[in-house]
């Protein structure tokens, strides 16, 4: 029973972090119809900035700087690279993001090397006891703060001009442009938001009980892509559900992998993709994705 609660809460926490990353994928996709394959390197870049600056300016200021840096990176990628390509060529844009990911990951891998960089978070090293259940404090903080972040994002989309513009541009790109929506600004806003969400998630992934930021932090973030696809890639709610499904499944499979060894080694690594394939076979547009309608 105790183990079950621990597994569920750990899975929930990991799932919420995956959901944050998946939301970054979804927001960019909704705004530009492009899958941002550089998103995992955004996560790594943001937490690397936090880890590098935290010893000098303190954790809170470092987080603020990391958020600004990743948002700026998202903006720079959109303004300097993607905006120069025809926005209707989604495949070309996606391939461009793969290039950005390769360059950024190589540079960060070179800078980080084999090192583990501490984040310096105040909750590092702390655990919380609920009776016999023992959980890292970071898990509790994640479970409380990530839903608040997501609610804030949803409110922005619903109640701000940018949110309205984005929803309009998704509904009918040309119509929105004719109505005065500045599509470039919508797109830039989406990339900045994705960068900010990436850092928030990265801080969770690199927090205790993980000792800090390593190159593998970016690898862990890649698992959020199946979460976004499971949800439907253009559904914010779907990204959250997809993240939770993947997070809880991953922790559960890791826990019971000895009993699941008949399915082969490394099931924890591939379970996200197995779930994604099963769901796509059942619902090709994902759980909450808009169905494409085409006339023969």
């Amino acid at each position: 029973m105790t183990r079950g609660v621990e597994i569920l809460l750990s899975g929930l926490s990991l799932g919420l972090l995956y959901a944050l990353i998946a939301l970054g994928f979804v927001i960019v996709f909704k705004a530009t119809r492009t899958v941002n394959f550089a998103h995992a390197s955004f996560v790594l870049f943001g937490v690397w900035v936090v880890a590098q600056t935290s010893p000098h300016i303190g954790f809170a200021a470092a987080v603020a700087l990391g958020l600004v840096a990743a948002g700026t990176l998202g903006l720079a990628v959109e303004r300097l690279l993607l905006s120069r390509v025809d926005g209707r060529k989604h495949d070309a844009l996606a391939i461009l993001t793969i290039g950005v990911n390769v360059v950024l990951t190589a540079e960060l891998s070179w800078r980080i090397g084999e090192r583990v960089l501490p984040l310096g978070a105040p909750w590092d090293g702390h655990v919380v006891h609920f009776g016999s259940v023992v959980l890292p404090l970071s898990v509790i903080i994640t479970i409380i703060t990530v839903p608040l972040l997501i609610a804030g994002l949803a409110a922005c989309l619903r109640h701000t001009g940018w949110g309205l513009a984005m929803r309009a541009s998704i509904e009918d790109r040309e119509g929105a442009a004719l109505a005065g929506v500045r599509l470039k600004r919508v797109s830039a806003g989406a990339w900045v938001t994705a960068g900010v969400l990436a850092v928030a998630a990265g801080i969770g992934l690199a927090s205790f009980p993980s000792p800090g930021v390593a190159v593998s932090t970016g690898t862990a973030a890649i698992k959020a892509l199946p979460a976004a696809i499971i949800g439907g890639l253009d559904s914010l709610g779907g990204a959250i559900v997809g993240g939770l499904v993947i997070g809880i499944a991953e922790v559960t499979v890791a826990e019971y992998q000895a009993s699941l060894s008949f399915l082969g080694r490394g099931l924890g690594d591939v379970v996200a993709y197995v779930i994604m394939i099963c769901i796509l076979l059942w619902r090709p547009s994902g759980l909450f994705g808009a169905k494409e309608v085409s006339r023969a």
């Binding site: 105790t2 183990r3 621990e6 597994i7 750990s10 990991l14 190589a106 891998s109 090397g113 084999e114 090192r115 583990v116 960089l117 501490p118 590092d124 090293g125 702390h126 655990v127 023992v134 959980l135 890292p136 898990v139 992934l205 205790f208 009980p209 993980s210 000792p211 800090g212 390593a214 190159v215 593998s216 690898t219 862990a220 922790v251 890791a254 826990e255 992998q257 000895a258 080694r265 490394g266 924890g268 690594d269």
Partner: protein, 414 residues
């Protein structure tokens, strides 16, 4: 015109004859077959197949850097068989297909392979290495790779290291017959090889092993540590990535588990001492290694640490990786030195078996390579964490081989 052409032809013929005579003289002097690849009058070229761009790029670079420190030392001391050593390096990015292509391209240029990183890569290349009668040093301690005269596994294997570690904990009074020991281990070669050792030792010492298998990408090991706490384990053996081992130590301490944590050879990285896991590692964690540490207070360790600092500035992330690659290069030079009259691939294989007492005092216990099916050593050393020593770990005693480790039979080799 006609005369000058005749003179030209004569000059070419003379030059060719001299060149042939010169080559013959060199070949006779060296006593080598002219077909031996990688061997010239002045140089012996050895291959290094590393991951320099993939998931273990950091490790690959460390190995390459440490090999270069040793090569520089060897060449400064006159080289081997009156020749300088030279490394031919190729990056495989931890991709067996790339590794096969790199091997095919570099193979005609080298006499043998000083170091190959990555079990999948070794698996992909084994048949080729065997078919060409080559000798290849490996960066692994897996006893499952013993038994092949073409491969060098340097030092005590994972299973033997673990046996020595548990034996040490019992001798120190940290464990008693009837106690439970948690073993958190990576799926795959390292973890399962070590688990074989812990099960053997547990059977002999009256301990009970509570296993927790993990995969390399697992970041939160709270659940595993909590399971071990519920099982009331008195010690934890960890065979994981350094980041995971740090996580285990930190979570265990935060959860109030005051038990010793014994890590396998690949569970420590120097930068962990800057993280929040540092106090837990310093207090509870020790590491087993078949190799010495750069932080040891021995002349050899100090010399290597100084050479490393001179060339690369700061302490390496993996002290054991540096010592292993350095020792492997010195060992390869020793093997070459035993076959100066026959610098061929079969000659190298023969010479390998003639190395029965290779040692680097203070860094590496005596190694015997006469029987490829046996580990070259059954000795290991317990290392403790100390942020004030070079690269963060120092020996807590001498190298030792427990009676259990001597008695243990390694898995039948392939």
């Amino acid at each position: 015109m006609h005369k000058s052409r005749t003179l030209g032809l004569a000059a070419v013929a003379l030059a060719s004859a001299l060149a042939v005579a010169g080559c013959s003289t060199k070949a006779e002097r060296a006593g080598t077959s002219s077909a031996a690849p990688g061997v010239s009058d002045s140089t012996i070229k050895l291959g290094v197949l590393m991951d320099l761009s993939g998931p273990f790029a950091g490790t690959g670079k460390t190995i390459l850097d440490a090999s270069n420190v040793a090569v520089k030392e060897i060449n400064a001391a006159g080289g081997v068989c009156d020749r300088k050593l030279a490394l031919v390096t190729r990056d495989h990015g931890y991709d067996p297909q790339k590794a096969v292509a790199a091997y095919d391209e570099m193979d005609p240029q080298v006499l043998g392979y000083l170091n190959i990183l990555g079990t999948p890569v070794v698996t992909a290349l084994r048949d080729k290495i065997e078919a060409k009668d080559e000798l290849a040093g490996l960066t692994t301690f897996a006893s499952t790779l013993l038994g092949d005269k073409h491969l060098i596994v340097l030092g005590a294997t994972y299973d033997i290291q673990t046996i020595n570690g548990l034996d040490w904990l019992v001798r120190k009074g940290e464990l008693r017959s009837g106690d439970s020991v948690g073993h958190i281990y990576l799926q795959g070669e390292i973890g399962e090889n070590s688990l074989r050792g812990s099960k053997f030792a547990a059977g002999k010492l009256g301990l009970k092993i509570v296993g927790q298998q993990i995969d390399p990408t697992a970041t939160d090991l709270t659940s595993q540590v909590n399971a071990l706490k519920s099982a009331k384990v008195k010690a934890i053996q960890v065979d994981s990535t350094p980041k995971q081992a740090a996580s285990v130590a930190a979570v265990a301490q935060a959860a109030g588990m005051e038990v010793p944590i014994m890590g396998g050879v690949s569970t420590f990285a120097t930068s962990l001492l800057t993280t929040s896991a540092a106090p837990a590692l310093t207090e509870h964690y020790t590491r087993l290694s078949g190799l010495g540490a750069l932080g040891a207070d021995t002349a050899a360790a100090r010399k290597l640490a100084a050479a490393w600092t001179d060339q690369y500035g700061k302490a390496p992330e993996a002290s054991s990786g540096v010592v292993h690659a350095y020792a492997m290069t010195k060992l390869y030079a020793e093997i070459l030195g035993k076959t100066c009259e026959d610098l061929t691939r079969p000659g190298l294989l023969k010479a390998r078996s003639a190395v029965t007492d290779f040692t680097l005092p203070g860094l590496l216990p005596p190694q015997d390579f006469s029987d490829p099916a046996e580990p070259s050593s059954r000795e290991a050393q317990v290392l403790g964490v100390d942020k004030d020593v070079f690269a963060g770990v120092k020996p807590l005693g001498d190298f030792f081989a427990s009676d259990l480790a001597k008695e243990y039979k390694v898995p039948s080799a392939g």
